[in-house]
Amino acid sequence: MPFNTPLFLVFFVVFFVLYSFVFLRRSSRLYLILIGSFVFYAGWNYRFIPLIMVSATVDYYVALAIVATNRQSLRKVLLALSISANLGLLGIFKYADFALHAVAEFLEMFGYPVSLPALALVLPVGISFYTFQSMSYTIDVYRGVFMPRKGLLQFTAALSFFPQLVAGPILRARQILPQFETMPVPTWAGSKHGLVLISVGLTKKTLADLLSGPAAAVFDTDAAAVASLSWVEIFTGVLAFAGQIYGDFSGYSDMAIGIGLLLGFTIPMNFRLPYLALSPVDFWRRWHISLSTWLRDYLYISLGGNRRRRYLNIMITMVLGGLWHGAGWNFLAWGFFHGCLIIATHGLSNAQFLQGFALSRNWWVRFVKWGTTFYAVLIGWIIFRAVNMDVAVDLVMKLHQPGSLPISPPQAWLVAQLSILAFASMHVIDYIVIRYGKRIESRVALLLSFLILLQFFCFSVGTPGHAFIYFQF
């Protein structure tokens, strides 16, 4: 049941009325959230609800067992059990076929052709999000930074909390469980901000859907079709995809945060204008913040962080971060590419002769940094989205040889202009909310006009039910 459907609107209005006017006791609200979240999830596939319950139950009891024992070896075994259970679920549903295929290819390379059967399992929506969230709980408890909570109902309700269940943000137990203990009362200021974020998210999603056409025109093509594309079309397609994935995912996150606010819950921001980043490191501080901080806190630091083998740790973290997005060589290559970028950034910023450049606040220097970062991120998206690595390489090559490409049709320029407009609009809307959000929310007429304008836009050109990209991760 995606947020951008009339069915979700009906679901949420009913849920909201029950939550605000009927189920007023904390325990009854926990049941309501749990049932509501399962109904929400059943909108995709009710058969996978037991997976969420397994993940929650295992981690709930493992966390209790971890604090109940002083034996370090047992604590380690329990933690390994939790991690194995969660990664096992992920491995079976998400990576098994990829691994089998890779093994077959590897054996074939050495002259042992084998035919390994594919499992062809349906990927449960949101599995990458809730397993990471659940794992963070046991790791935090193991590390002693968070005390386990009593009450499986509360834990399961928090893990399956529908605004963030299927596409994040990935919440830490310490961010969400205390809120489930107090069941915060929604404030009018928070609700106004929630309504703004829902409208902004829906608008960004609408713009993302509009950009999906030009992006697909470039990326849903094989190597032969790439040859007939002009550089204008390739550039447009790449920019359109950059806008599409940002609008799609950050739009979803905005809506999730907004819905949370309407119910009184605070969910942290997941994006901070990532395409304005001044370096690849900065980009990852602004893009999918809940994942990048998760990887930093639970993987990078566990590997040794900055203390030893720093660059290797960065590379492992980024490659696994790439693989988190999907089982494919392109995701792995994308993670590797970003790993290289981050390592290069650290390397260059440590170089003596670049100290002046790295620390400069000069406008032109900042522009160069932004341009370089944005360019690198765009190249990364080609690797991420192309149907295979051959096509990705072709696209990158052809983008850099404008003279050798076919002349672009006249409509290509118009599509390029419209794509730039849609891309820029997302950022303008984000900027308005960041810069003037408080002012807008404090004046009723301004707030209503802003919301009506955005809703009218979504109503006019939005495609309700257009799938969210991150559901497939």
Binding site: T5, L7, S191, P410, F456, F459
Partner: protein, 398 residues
């Protein structure tokens, strides 16, 4: 606890009121603005809306004549003249009133949905249609065409389904059902896909590249000719000019009876200009890209829908036939394997419906000059020529 709950309720009330107000205002704005857009530009559905408005009157049949409906795609819209058909039939001693129910952009699946609504009107009055000629348009039943039609699926389902059918869909697929209900009742039948499709057409995002500057001159001349023709047409038709499904023409776009010789002459000049090889080549390219018009790889699902469509009409009509309109042989040359495929499909339709098929695709009496593009007959000389052939061959026994 009490103040906690009352705070919660108070904020919730404000939230519901604000959200509801915003949603309702945005919806009203949308309905108002899109309503104007439909009035001004049609947005691709004006003809269907106007035809639907006329259905009760047609079913009432105040003239108490035999009723014939020619149902199909834009080929019928352009290529069938009720005036000519009726007068030819009169000459044969059959007192009949015919209607052009040809609609652009509907594949057999959507045609079938709309056919059910036509039948409803007759059924309500306990009547049957005397004759229905159903066009089978091969390039509307291809896999390629289906792929390009998908985006409008919700629009047509929301427009054509009966409330009972909508309810059934909602029960089996709540997500789709609520979306269809939203289009039908909250958006006044105008989906956002309709708007984006209209915008795409207005911005000409799918227009092919102009091959030379010489052709640009031809285009400029044509544009002038077109505006002169429109001016004259407005003069001749007056209020009727805006009607896409004109009751006076019984659904045809143009009728010689209502036009001056000058307007007809301008129209013929305009269609002759449209037959420029560059234009036709581009048109063919577009038809190949969007409809697979040369190879015709059929979508079995669409063939099934067409068979169901014929059965629906057959259940409520006294005489049903299937027709295939003339093909522009100069431009569309199907390879032998395509012809075999088409013959197989026609055999299947005939076997499963037990309805006769008249295939006019290769009729020698229709030449390249009867067409305004690679697929459509011209709305005057082309449609008249074909309608005469059709009327000549029709043998109704009422």
């Amino acid at each position: 606890m009490g103040s906690h709950n009352s705070d919660c309720r108070s904020v919730a009330r404000k939230t519901l009121f604000t959200g509801g107000f915003v949603f309702a205002t945005a919806a009203l704005l949308y309905i108002g603005i899109m309503g104007l857009a439909v009035k001004e530009t049609g947005l691709g559905i004006r003809r269907l809306n106007q035809a639907s408005e006329q259905l009760p009157h047609i079913a009432d049949n105040p003239a108490a004549k035999k009723i014939a409906i020619v149902y199909g795609s834009s080929l019928v819209h352009a290529g069938f003249s009720p005036d000519i058909f009726d007068s030819e039939m009169e000459a044969k001693g059959i007192d009949l009133v015919s209607y052009n129910f040809g609609f652009d952009g509907l594949n057999p699946e959507y045609q079938h949905l709309y056919a059910k609504r036509i039948m409803d009107e007759f059924q309500k009055r306990g009547k049957k249609i005397d004759a229905v000629l159903i066009e089978f348009n091969p390039f509307q039943a291809t896999l390629t065409r289906r792929g390009h039609d998908q985006s409008m699926s919700d629009q047509w389902y929301a427009s054509f389904c009966s409330p009972a059918e909508l309810w059934d869909i909602t029960l089996t697929d709540p997500q789709r059902g609520t979306r269809l209900l939203e289009i039908r009742y909250l958006r006044n039948g105008l989906s956002s896909e309709l708007v984006t499709t209209a915008l795409r057409l207005a911005l000409k995002l799918h227009e092919p590249t102009l091959p030379s500057t010489d052709y640009a001159e031809v285009l400029t001349k044509r544009r002038k000719l077109k505006s002169r023709f429109r001016r004259e047409l407005k003069k001749d038709l007056g209020e009727r000019y805006r009607q896409q499904w004109n009751p006076a023409f019984r659904g045809a776009r143009l009728s010689r009876k209502y036009l001056s010789d000058h307007t007809i002459d301008l129209y013929e000049q305009l269609t002759a200009s449209l037959r420029h090889p560059v234009q036709l080549e581009q048109d063919l390219k577009k038809r190949v890209e969007f409809c697979d018009i040369v190879k015709l790889n059929f979508d079995d699902g669409q063939i099934d829908e067409f068979i169901n469509l014929v059965r629906t009409f057959k259940s409520m009509s006294r005489h049903v036939e299937i027709i295939l309109l003339p093909q522009n042989r100069e431009w569309i040359q199907n390879p032998p394997e395509t012809k075999n495929r088409l013959n197989q499909v026609l055999d299947r339709i005939k076997a499963e419906t037990q309805v006769a098929i008249r295939n006019y695709q290769q009729t020698p009496e229709i030449s390249k000059n009867h067409f305004s593009d690679v697929t459509h007959l011209t709305r005057i000389s082309g449609s008249e020529a074909f309608t005469r052939i059709l009327a000549r061959d029709m043998k109704f026994r009422f």
